[in-house]
């Protein structure tokens, strides 16, 4: 019962802040609303007996990613534009389509007989680390995936640096030198 109440509160916050993302004019406000939404989701993870994911959610998502996003928004001053309309005619397509899709999927979901299993494991650090690194027990699959993920992050970092750095001889850098 208590869990349900917490869930409703957190869920309402999550959805509400998600709406704020949708409706806010300035990206910075949107980003902050998104952080709020993510935090409340982290709470729900806790409710669902997955504290580790909740913590990772707070640290990586709400912390790192959103921080990066906010940083970039602030760095790019032009992000604050008032010319671009929030919605246009495309939205007329999108909103009903998504709503219909959601309705359909929701319809199916509601009819499906799912229920919590009491034997489901608690998503603790121990469980996670054992699954990931105890190769002898769970097989090498997750471990390899983990390593590959490391490579992916590394390469994305390199890509980001390469993409975002100012190239010598580019128009911008020339302009900068002129100034």
């Amino acid at each position: 019962m208590l869990a349900l109440i917490y869930f409703i509160i957190l869920g309402v916050i999550a959805i509400g802040s998600a709406f704020c993302v949708l409706l806010s004019r300035h990206p910075l406000y949107g980003a902050l609303s998104l952080v709020l939404s993510m935090l409340s989701l982290a709470g729900i993870y806790g409710l669902l007996a997955s504290p580790f994911i909740g913590v990772v959610q707070v640290m990586v998502y709400a912390g790192a990613i959103m921080m990066l996003l906010t940083f970039v928004i602030m760095v790019l001053n032009g992000a604050r534009d008032s010319k671009t309309p929030m919605f246009d005619r495309v939205s007329l397509f999108v909103v009903p389509a998504v709503l219909v899709l959601t309705g359909l999927v929701g319809f199916v979901l509601v009819r499906s007989p799912i229920a919590f299993d009491s034997t489901a494991l608690r998503g603790s650090v121990k469980l996670t680390s054992e699954t990931l690194f105890n190769v002898a027990q769970t097989g090498p699959g997750y471990f390899i995936l983990f390593e590959v993920l490391g490579l992916l992050l590394l390469s994305s970092m390199a890509a980001a640096v390469l993409l975002a750095k100012k190239r010598l001889g580019s128009v911008d850098s020339d302009n900068a030198e002129d100034k």
Binding site: V90, F93, V94, L101, L104, V105
Partner: protein
């Protein structure tokens, strides 16, 4: 001597062809061309050798002939054919004069073609022709005969269009080939017809005769008669094509566009008689088919009469001879039509001599006049070219059936057989006789216009008139001698029947099967009537053309090749029944059907393009819109899946 293999005979000219062809191709690059002496020697050598081989074989031939199978040709289910040769009485006679006259005319051509750029090429063609002709008469199956049959047609095409710089010659050649092709398809379908009746091996002559014998003894004639008649008719169409009978005769006058020796060899002496040969060869079969025989007689009669009439109106010396050839071929068909196959072959034999002599003589005249072919510009050649004139005169007597000359014996024989052929015989006989009169008239006209009177050409050309060289004269003289004496091989009135005896094993059975119920008439009456006809014709010719005005030659007198001056209505008939319908059909295909198909193709293409354009308007530059569409479509898909209950 008996060990001479049969395949040697066709092989010799084939070797000649290959050698001369190689020489022609190799020397085509050089300016001067190959040595004419060597080419001429090679060209004559192989036909002459073939003649010798035939002679040797003919001497020691057993009564029922020699058979030799070289190897298998086609062997598939339903059908089997060998390269086999059959040397019997019929092919012996045909081969003798084919190779003999062929060798003579080749010799003549050396003089005639002197200085021509395509000297070696010409003789390669001639040798190829002789090869095909030998295969035609020597083949022991219809298929092998067909090989020769189309082969001679091909050579005829090549030689008519020999001077291929003039497109008219090419057109004449095309016409000859295509008209012949129509006939050939008849032949082909006739063969298929026979295969249907008699099975895979039937095309062999021996097998065919055995089959016919089997039918006769078994009494199954009624059963196979319709399809055999069809086959017979189809074969006859083939014969009309090759032998220029109604309705496929218009190509022969045009074929005179070729060099004159070619006209002599191919379009008078040998190739055109292939149809008669085929009729005689299939005599046993034709003897069973009264309807077909009647058609053959009628066609032969009409052709003989019509061609004689047309011959009256020609001004080109070679065209006159061409029509006379058609007319004589008509005689041969008449004879074949009343089952007198030996008589028709006899006429082929004598005709080969005198017609070849006539053509060679005409060639000598044309040669002397440097290419002039219009009779209206000739005249008085008797003094200038006496040998040629004598040869022509003898041949003239032979063709009109002057007593004692070759044509007399054979033509009388045919007319006699015609008369006795049945209830319609006398009528046939009268028309035949009338034709003989007309023959004498137009041939007399030719002789008078060419050799008598005074020269009507230009003065400067008169000085160049000269007698032909010896290598041209020798063959002419030999042929003239043949034209005089060839008839004595079968002088019925004198009781000499060498010729018919030698043919009897082949065609005797067929002729015996058709019993003539006509009253027996003294042969001397026929001889007398024939002589009378010849004399009458000569008299008319003398009266009309000897003294009367000679029509003025108008316009160009160059050989007209494609355009025969007057062919009654057969050219128009071909035009309206053959060429125009095909052209219209082609036009419909090209302009109507093809355009419709293209329109359909275009419409489908256009619809696809429009649809594509329509779809591509959705492919806008807005990524978000694309995404929106895809989301909407996912929604639709999900809805479909839900509604159909997951059937897909």
């Amino acid at each position: 001597m008996m060990n001479l293999p049969l395949w040697l005979i066709p092989l010799l000219p084939l070797v000649g062809t290959i050698l001369l062809g190689a020489i022609a191709v190799i020397s085509s690059g050089s300016k001067k061309g190959p040595s004419e002496g060597m080419v001429g020697f090679l060209a004559v050598l192989f036909p002459a050798l073939a003649f010798v081989a035939v002679l040797l074989l003919a001497m020691g031939m057993p009564v029922d002939g020699i058979r030799g199978t070289l190897c298998n040709w086609i062997d598939i289910p339903l059908f089997k054919a060998d390269f086999g040769f059959l040397f019997d009485g019929l092919s012996r006679i045909m081969l003798l004069f084919v190779t003999g006259i062929g060798a003579l005319i080749t010799l003549y051509s050396i003089g005639y073609m002197h200085g021509d750029r395509g000297f070696a090429r010409f003789f390669a063609y001639i040798n190829l022709f002789l090869f095909s002709m030998i295969v035609l008469v020597l083949g022991d199956s219809l298929l092998l005969t067909f090989l020769g049959w189309e082969g001679v047609g091909l050579c005829s095409y090549l030689l008519i269009g020999f001077w291929n710089k003039d497109v008219n010659n090419c057109k004449a050649a095309n016409k000859a080939f295509i008209v012949n092709r129509v006939g050939d398809i008849g032949f082909l379908l006739g063969m298929l017809c026979l295969v249907t009746v008699g099975g895979a091996g039937i095309l062999n002559y021996d097998a065919l005769n055995a089959f016919i014998q089997m039918i006769l003894t078994g009494g199954h004639v009624e059963i196979v008669l319709p399809i055999l008649s069809l086959a017979g008719l189809l074969f006859f169409i083939g014969c009309t094509g090759k032998s220029a009978q109604i309705p496929l005769l218009t190509w022969l006058p045009d074929a005179m566009a070729g060099p004159t020796p070619v006209s002599a060899l191919i379009h008078a002496a040998t190739m055109v008689t292939a149809g008669v040969y085929l009729l005689a060869r299939l005599g046993n079969m034709f003897a069973l088919l009264p309807v077909v025989l009647f058609i053959i007689t009628l066609i032969g009669l009409l052709t003989a009469f019509w061609a004689a009439m047309a011959g009256l109106f020609q001004n080109d010396i070679k065209k006159v001879l061409a029509y006379s050839t058609i007319s004589q071929l008509g005689y041969m068909f008449m004879a074949a039509g009343v089952c007198a196959f030996d008589a028709s072959i006899f006429h082929v034999f004598t005709h080969a001599f005198f017609k070849a002599a006539l053509f060679l003589g005409a060639g000598a005249v044309i040669h002397a006049l440097a290419g002039e072919q219009d009779m209206r510009k000739m005249g008085g050649m008797l003094k200038k070219t006496p040998v040629t004139a004598c040869v022509m005169l003898f041949a003239f007597f032979a063709i009109i059936g002057f007593p004692g000359f070759a044509g007399f014996w054979s033509k009388d024989l045919i007319l006699e057989r015609l008369f006795m052929s049945g209830p319609l015989g006398p009528a046939f006989y009268v028309v035949g006789l009338l034709t003989a009169v007309i023959t004498a008239v137009y041939m007399g006209r030719l002789i008078i216009l060419t050799f008598f009177g005074s020269y009507r050409g230009s003065k400067e050309s008169e000085e160049h008139i000269h007698e032909a060289p010896a290598c041209m004269l020798i063959p002419m003289v030999i042929l003239a001698i043949g034209a005089i004496f060839a008839g004595y091989f079968w002088a019925d009135s004198l009781g000499i029947t060498v010729f018919s005896d030698s043919l009897a094993p082949v065609v005797g059975a067929a002729q015996a099967s058709v019993v003539h119920a006509g009253a027996h008439v003294n042969p001397l009456i026929f001889a007398g009537l024939g002589t009378l006809a010849a004399l009458l014709g000569m008299f008319i010719a003398l009266k009309v053309y000897g003294s009367a005005r000679i029509p003025e030659a108008k316009g160009s007198s160059a050989p007209q090749g494609f355009k025969a001056s007057w062919t009654f209505f057969f050219d128009s008939l071909h035009k309206y029944c053959g060429i125009i319908p095909v052209s219209v059909l082609a036009w419909i295909c090209d302009v109507v059907v093809d355009k419709i198909l293209q329109a359909i193709q275009w419409t489908v293409g256009a619809i696809a393009t429009i649809l594509g354009d329509g779809v591509s308007t959705f492919q806008v530059r807005k990524v978000r819109l694309q995404l929106a569409f895809s989301v909407a479509c996912v929604a639709i898909l999900v809805a479909v899946v839900l509604l159909t209950g997951g059937t897909f």
